[in-house]
Amino acid sequence: LRKNVEDFTGPRERSDLGFVTFDITADILNGKNGLQTFRNKNTLIIFDWNVKQLFLYLSAEYSTKNNALNQVVLWDKIMLRGDNPRLSLKDMKSKYFFFDDGNGLKGNRNITLTLSWNVVPNAGILPLVTGSGHVSVPFPDTYETTKSY
């Protein structure tokens, strides 16, 4: 699981708006037989007979002065059983606006991006799994006033 990002913040009077572009390369493997269950800490997840779909989401987690913990979903995707389990997305823009609650993005050195997914079975438990591998992204200290986004 690998992600590369570039980023810059946008000017906002009340709340910081961050722009992130990213690449996602992920291996979510198909199972050979339906009897294996997935293991939590590895990126091995098996599309077995009881998995209807995976709801993947890329979330940014960080701390600010205002709030001890912030999590923002930047991008999500529904992967149905039968879809290509290998993701290779380049130069993706975030699907949702990355607004902070306040001005905590400027100069924030430690934004962690993680890819996680929700396993939706045909019937049964709905677990949330975090992929292994995450990327730390720093935001710059100044705002950009012009950007071609």
Binding site: Y96, W117, L128
Partner: protein, 186 residues
């Protein structure tokens, strides 16, 4: 009630009911009461174990497709020890509205002391739920949450939706159930 029931059915049932003496009738009524109380106890027990005021809900809209469809049954927990995190499927109520909504958490901002405000969005919706919230409300809080979806079974909840949309169906089901318990002899 026994007479009215008898009037609706064939003579076989009629004979059965007439043959029951008073004591047996009281016994059946008590039996019925026991069943209702047990059901209530199970429901209340579930409420305690899960920490949710409504541990089982039926999905009413298509806003979480293709994961959930109308009629799917969701099992919820609402334990305080489980913090609300993005990606979770929450069932919440908007202040002043009765109908619970099942959507996914998109954004959270949590303070040191545990106060949290969060934003939700249905998987199948193009925009987040701010438009659904109360006028002037931008975030949801813990108090709005009925529970987090931990498991589900498809289709089963259709019965509840049918009963809601077609009240005659509901009365028919209840009537038949009551009749069955009263007339059935163990």
């Amino acid at each position: 009630a026994a007479a009215a029931a008898a009037a609706m059915l064939s003579l076989d049932f009629l004979d059965d009911v007439r043959r029951m003496n008073k004591r047996q009738l009281y016994y059946q009524v008590l039996n019925f009461g026991m069943i209702v109380s047990s059901a209530l106890m199970i429901w209340k027990g579930l409420m305690v174990v899960t920490g949710s005021e409504s541990p089982i809900v039926v999905v009413l809209s298509g806003s979480m497709e293709p994961a959930f469809h109308r009629g799917d049954l969701l099992f919820l927990t609402n334990r305080i020890e489980d913090p609300i995190r993005v990606g979770e499927i929450v069932v919440f109520r908007i202040e002043g509205r009765e109908i619970p909504i099942v959507h996914r958490v998109l954004k959270i901002h949590e303070k040191q002391n545990g106060d949290i405000k969060f934003l939700t969005k249905g998987d199948n919706n193009a925009v987040d739920d701010r438009g659904l919230y109360k006028q002037g409300q931008h975030w949801l809080e813990k108090k709005d949450v009925v529970g987090r979806a931990r498991g589900f079974v498809p289709y089963i909840g259709i019965v509840t939706i049918l009963m809601n949309d077609y009240p005659k169906f509901k009365y028919a089901v209840l009537f038949l159930l009551g009749l069955f318990v009263l007339v059935h002899r163990e």
